[in-house]
């Protein structure tokens, strides 16, 4: 697909392995609802791909309020994966997703390995769904609540188990940044069969009400997102690309604080084949289309024909 930008035409299509997107700009899980919630504010047929909020086996009410809090150039959230659960998702939301004209990815979360596998199996083979994004940033209740994604062995076991039961399913593994070395968990995910990696999820943080001397958020801690995390996220994408993904031929979906085309280009140059926008969609849903157009303008201005030429072209590292 070609987006005209000015007079020149540029090719914005990207191939995330076997899934093709018309352009590299996707929504980030948890910031765009289940399907058409944003339709009055942005033309969802013009984005590259749509990622649903996290779906779990059983419905979840989520955490106690207060659930979000604005911080310097960012926000904390402790939504607690509130969602309707697999059964209602299949009955009520998948029929809506069938009407989406762009590739749809369903984000999968769970409390145990068995949960993830069960949800992934049920969502495999559904025509409206192009792939699954596995959110490994969840605590494993069976081993004392340790987050799957911080332990390379647990990440490999989880991704391997889903891969085994869903051999044909396109799997994106969404990495947590709350680790010492993200290339280690990235490698574990790739070796266990990930088709693509998405990074980053939110950074764990806390805000304190100094009058009450209590955490501001009902969930006590929350995930930090938005422009505040962008430089760290860009660095992580750059490292994962050079040290893991490039040689393995596994595409990266980069995210963390993207607000405009400039920010998206940073991720692409660092090695992301596509990008996702989360926090800024909450503020300015129309930015999804403007970012896509801005990437086109950049290609024209730099005499490039395809966005693919830009991926990982970072010099001087």
């Amino acid at each position: 697909m070609v987006e005209a930008s000015g007079k020149k035409q540029v090719d914005l299509t990207v191939e995330l392995g076997r899934v093709r997107l018309a352009n590299p700009v996707m929504t980030a899980s948890g910031t765009c609802g289940y399907a058409f919630e944003l339709k009055d504010f942005v033309d969802l047929s013009r984005i590259g791909g749509f990622v649903t909020k996290s779906i779990t086996l059983e419905g979840r009410e989520g955490n106690l309020p207060q659930r979000t809090f604005e911080t310097a150039s960012g926000m904390l959230n402790s939504i607690g994966l509130a969602n309707v659960g697999l059964e209602r998702f299949l009955a009520e939301k998948v029929p809506l997703l069938e009407k989406m004209t762009v590739p749809v990815f369903v984000n999968v979360a769970g409390r145990s390995l068995e949960d993830y596998v069960a949800v992934s199996e049920k969502l495999s083979g559904i025509e409206a769904i192009s792939g699954l994004e596995i959110n490994v940033s969840c605590p494993n209740v069976k081993v004392g609540g340790i987050t799957f994604g911080v332990d390379p062995a647990a990440t490999a076991e989880l991704v391997g188990a889903i891969r085994k039961r869903c051999p044909e399913t396109y799997l994106i593994v969404k990495l947590t940044p709350n680790v010492t070395d993200i290339t280690v968990t990235a490698r574990a995910a790739v070796e266990a069969g990930a088709d693509a990696l998405s990074l980053v999820n939110t950074f764990t943080g806390m805000a304190i009400d100094v009058e009450k001397r209590q955490p501001v958020l009902g969930g006590r801690t929350g995930g930090l997102s938005g422009p505040a995390i962008r430089p760290i996220a860009v660095h992580m994408v750059s490292r994962v690309y050079r040290e893991v993904a490039q040689t393995a031929g596994v595409p990266i979906i980069g995210m963390g604080g993207i607000c405009c085309a400039h920010d998206a280009l940073e991720f692409i140059i660092a090695g992301a084949s596509a990008v996702a926008v989360g926090t800024n969609v909450l503020v300015d849903p129309g930015c999804l289309v403007r970012i896509m157009e801005g990437i086109g303008d950049y290609l024209v201005a730099h005499d490039m024909k395809t966005v693919k030429e830009l991926v990982g072209c970072l010099e001087g590292v």
Binding site: F36, M75, K99
Partner: protein, 335 residues
Amino acid sequence: MKNDAPNPDNFVRRGEFVAKIVEQRPLFGKNNISLNLEVTDKAAVCFAKAKPGQFVNLACRDLNEYRCPTPLLRRPFSIAGIFSDSAASKPVSGNDLENSSQVGSSEKLYLQIIYSVIGPGTNWLAQRNPGEQINLLGPLGNGFTLPESKDAKVILVGGGVGLPPLYFLADRLAGQGYRDIVAVAGARGREEFACEFALDKYEEEKPLEKQLVLQQFARSNTSSIIATDDGSMGYHGNVVEAWREFLVGNEGWAEAEVFACGPGGMLKAVAAFAREKVNPCQVCMEAYMACGIGVCQSCVVAMKAGAADEGESKKYKLTCVNGPVFDAEKVDWNS
């Protein structure tokens, strides 16, 4: 090609719009400002259909400034009035709500927002001048449901920055032909009212007699009772106490429909008193919002067991899309 909405109702009711500032006017209370915004075209069509209780989510910064996006999130504000003239004297009556031709695509509408300057977002707003533009999402949320009978007695109970949506409600009720409306308006002290007063007409010694004193209510010929926690104006006490005292000698108002907006604690007390009086009561609630459009799940309010069943959660409703107006009987006031 636009994505086909799964919703059969394809008529656009809300969106992202740019509004032009017509006026910023300081009000009676300290740091309270009335903002008058002009909207045109599609925005005018959407806002012609807006209901009292609905709100807008304002970008309190230049959205194209990416290096230092402060404040990052939008700020929600209730609609305090919608007018067909820039002088804000002709409220849109809503009589032809279902007739989309009421406002042609070339027409303009004027929105009133009344806000209190308390932090970075409202400070930024206060510094804007007429002629400047503001980006907004709206109209958002559900809005109040008007009483079935035009003969119903209506009591509006508001506190602090909970008053503005009730001004719009009073305009609409009057425009629709409801006649018996009284407002009970409260604040901590006289300096904190988000309104204007006709003080020359105010009979201070009769605080429990309804008077045409609070201008934003008086514009729809709605009289009000003023109450302050510190006794610096009107009745010395909170709005519920003032309302209780008002009923003594005004027994005809014991059976009424109640519409309330204000801080959580006040709404809880209003809901309890409405229940005691067996008055139907709708409350317009506040919650910390990140998106205002139903995608982030920030703004949950807990419902009583069984009251949230039709929604996506058994326990919570979203203030921004299922609210901000809720039936007081359904809210779990003890959560």
